[in-house]
């Protein structure tokens, strides 16, 4: 009700060579976004981008990024994202482009969407597996993603044990 409102963009970094993804880190991504915004929208954009913009989450394995923009100007900033063609990190240029999957009002909605999206990906992968080994691995992964009773128990116990330690 009374809070600073933001928009969270759930983006996927697509690279031709997936191994290069591991080089990414959040500062590099943030710098790239800032540079792109500055290029597209000039000083005004750069200034907007300096307020409350941050990379909330980056997974170097899957190339998923959460970007936070102020709600007031997120459209303007978003419009600059397609112009990112490479991210410079650790002295190397990684060619890539950002693909926005979801726009959420909270991190939580983005997380929820990501769960759904990843599960969907794995499900899509399963019929295309060629060897039995692959198939089993993917199946295992899918099983992990699903919320089973066993999983729940695990979560619950974890939290309990933590509580004990705190006391």
């Amino acid at each position: 009700m009374v809070r600073v409102k933001s928009r969270y963009l759930l983006c996927e970094i697509n690279v031709p060579d997936r191994s290069r993804l591991f080089l990414l880190d959040d500062r590099a991504v943030a710098a790239a976004v800032k540079a792109a915004v500055a290029r597209m929208h000039g000083d005004y954009g750069a200034a907007l981008c300096s307020i409350r913009f941050s990379v909330k989450y980056l997974n170097a394995h899957t190339g998923i990024v959460f970007l936070r923009f102020p709600k007031k100007c997120y459209r303007l900033l978003w419009s600059a994202l397609p112009f990112i063609t490479c991210i410079e990190t650790r002295g190397q240029k990684i060619e890539c482009f950002l693909n926005c999957l979801h726009v959420g009002g909270t991190i939580r909605t983005c997380q929820k969407f990501l769960v759904k999206y990843n599960t969907q990906q794995l499900h899509r992968m399963l019929p295309k597996c060629k060897s039995e080994e692959e198939r089993s691995q993917v199946r295992e992964a899918i099983l992990k993603c699903c919320l089973t009773r066993g999983n729940k128990q695990e979560f619950g116990e974890e939290s309990d044990s933590e509580d004990d330690e705190e006391q």
Binding site: E12, N14, I64, R90, V115, S131, E133, V138, A141, G156
Partner: protein
Amino acid sequence: MVLNISVHGVRVQFDLTSCISLLPESVPRRSSRGRIALESPATQEDKEKMSSSKAKMREKKMKNQPSSVQYSPSTTQNGGGAVVSGGGQLMERPKTPHQSAGWSRGHQRDGGSYAKEMPKCITAGAFARARAAEVSSMLKAVRKTTGSCHVFGALPKHMRRRAMSHNTKRLPRRLRDVAERMREKSLQAGSKKKEQAKNKSRKARRRHGNLLLEFNRRQRKNVWLETHIWHAKRFFMVKKWGYCLADKPTSKCYRPCYRALSSHCLLQDLSYYCCIELQGEENNLLASLSQLTSKETGPTFAAALSLSGQKQGSVVMYRAGCYPLQPLGPVTFLWRPQSQGSTLRQLWIWAHPTMKKDLLTELQTVCQCDEAVAPPIVPIEQKLPVTPEDKQIAGTKRKQTVKDISGPPAKKLLGDGTRSPTTPVSWKSNCTGTIINDLTMEMVRFRLIGPQSHTVLAETLEVATKYGESDKLKPSSLWWPEHCKEESKMVLHQEQADAYHLLKGILSAGELPPGTVLGLTVEDPRLTLPTKKLKALPSVQKAQEVDEEKSRELMLKGVPKHCCQSSLWDRSVRDNVTENRISEKELNHLRGELLVPGSRLSPAPPQSSVPVLLVHQPGKQLGHEMSSWGAGWDLLLPKGWGMAFWIPLVYRGVRTGGLNMSLKHSQNKGVPHFPHDYPDCTSGALFQDEQEAELLEKFRRRPPAKRTNYIKHGCLAPFRCPWQQLAEEWELILIEEGKKKDSQTTRGADEVIKEETTSLRDMTAAKPVSCVSVLRCRKSLRLLSGWCRPTTSKGQRLCRVEKVPQLDHPAMTSFLTAHGMSLVWVRLLMPSKGKPELHAIVCAPTAEDLQLLDKGPGSSGPQEPLHRDHFKSRRKGSTKTATSSLPSEKSEGQMSHLLTASEEPKPSSKASSGFTAGLWPDPLPSVTSHCSRVTLGWVTQGDFSLSVGCGEALGFVSVTGLLQTLSNQEMKHRGILLLRNPTSLHYRFVKVTIEV
């Protein structure tokens, strides 16, 4: 084998065959707890800023949130040992089981190493596992709520219900088990913490017996005065000196209290003052007491008027033979008028509780009273008739409130409740027969201050009626009927009553000779309690009735000698009166039986006669203006009668004051107040320490940004006054000056000075590290006071009694030889603006400042340039690195010469834990030369004076400094000094006076 996945139209090609077998653990997994070692930059930085508790809260909140998964340079370097080649593709993966441990972020300087160490391809399995790991972490983040650890935190808002934590049935069934467990856990934790004490109901607690028990329990630690309950309802109470004392009223009545002081009457309970009784031969007592006092400070115990018992005396006591060093403090004393044919004398010494212990030990050594007398066998009781109840009570000091056998078991505690009954209260000397009794809390002392205090007394107290002739023959256990049987005592009683009636004729309490004593036996004032609170006003009629001649005699000579006798001096009488006091309940019962409601009880019950002593308290005796301001009467009562007299006094329209008001009283009188303004006494030093701790604590409670930076104000010691250092520094300055003089006058024009200075140097060299002393020698004070006055004063009417010798160099040197290390009590008046505060700095003006004064009366004083805070940079350095070298920069501006270099704070001092921003750490640099004007002393009491109408300060200055300044000043500017508050940079001109 190639896997093609299209994700939103992007094709990512995977070469699976070559990699699957080679990458068993290619996907780094999060640690089982979901907490991974790497932290986002924001949290790391935040943690430094945030306090530990905040960080803990944040950690708890972020516990379930996923953090970024990135590679760090460290893992790749450490774990990159296994190089596997397959299918022409070079693979390097960290294979440590706890990969999470090495995951940290940071900028990579040598980024080139990455290219070969990173995996070149990705497999379907790895891809899937990465996704799965991410999903599980996200799931955790989504499912677990942040913040509250309650189960219902997991519920969406619309499903939450009131009091869910209390009643688990309100939760959905699936969450009940967890909630139940949580609740049990919290209950266990609660039981561990504290068992809630089962309190009695309020009604039960307030029942009389239980209330008394509770009160007695609370009196065990700190002594309560008899008026404690009355005061506790109206005053802020403080625990001080082992007593519970009223500090200041909760209502706003500062000015009304002042008006009462100056025009009507202010009432105070001073029962906490300790009385020590000495009994013995007059010569023996005087001989031993003379060791503790000095004639130079004024009349001592042997003064003729006091010795006869006609006057109360006051004296500053010192440790035996130590004058002028090691004072104990000021006391007032009262001799019992000599009874016929007896050489035994009785002396009461009233002292402040802080100095009682020292005084008592000192008295014991001086009088050689080492033999403690067991409490129940009080020596005086052997001589005087003893009632059977006395013996029983003397030890326990308890009063039987009700004589019924079925009375309540709890008894009201009277006297000192903290003392155990076996502690000795009297000591006897074998060789001289002197007896010392500790009469602490054995008597009640009320002080009435103000010009109308005698009117209040005259209205409240009525002389006791003689006991009926018919009952004379009957023996009585009561004191008064027995007393009435002796004719001589009755004659005395009549004379005392006459003298008392004369009191009504005088206009102001200040008209009487100071210290007059009047013994009296009065009726219980409760009998004449008015139905309404009325202000006691002097009636002209009564004044006219009184014989003019007699009242004039009273004013000049005081009360005749024999009228000072009172039965209050006898312990047995005191005990008898205390014990036989009619309780409030009985009195009300008697009143209720009266035929006409509201009429007076007559005849008065025989228990209602009380021996009292009225002691006149002198008002302002020093100085020329407002003489005898604040005079009044002290009322001494036997214990137990406190409230019986207090309420009737209050009903005469007096104001009541606490400790704060007595401080203001002495401030307006211009006299030092006991523990505050005696820096050379042990109790004074103790008080200073306490005050410093209190002020420092108050200072530290403020947020750092809102604190005064005393370093910048050039105030070295805002919370305490380093008197010792001040005196020593002035001593050094004097020597320096002497040296200069020596070099100038090598021809030996004034050999006297040279001689003097050399002798002075010898003296200072020989002098051990003695404590600083306060100048109390009357002759020297008179001399100083004369020097302080300007010779051409316009508005000041001076009654110069004697010719003051010229302030020239030989006179000054000889004076300083005697009192070089002393401080002197001065009164400072601000003729223009300004309100002095506690610990304001008294400085010597320069010649330019005095020219400023000439310009006009409206010109304000000079300004102190802002100082620099060198400790600021040190503080910053010390927080970051402990071993940082210190910047030795130092603004040498006006901070000149002498001790600055030697006493500059060492680097080690700042490492001390007690360092506070804005305060100079110990040791202090030179206090005299720290500011642009030379410091002479400090103010110990300062306020806007309602009696003078301008700012008035009282404090001490160094005698050496004062004399140096005075000798350098022109005649017309003599006695003008500067005063600066610790929180200000503005100097104000003050006129210094020393009142003798």
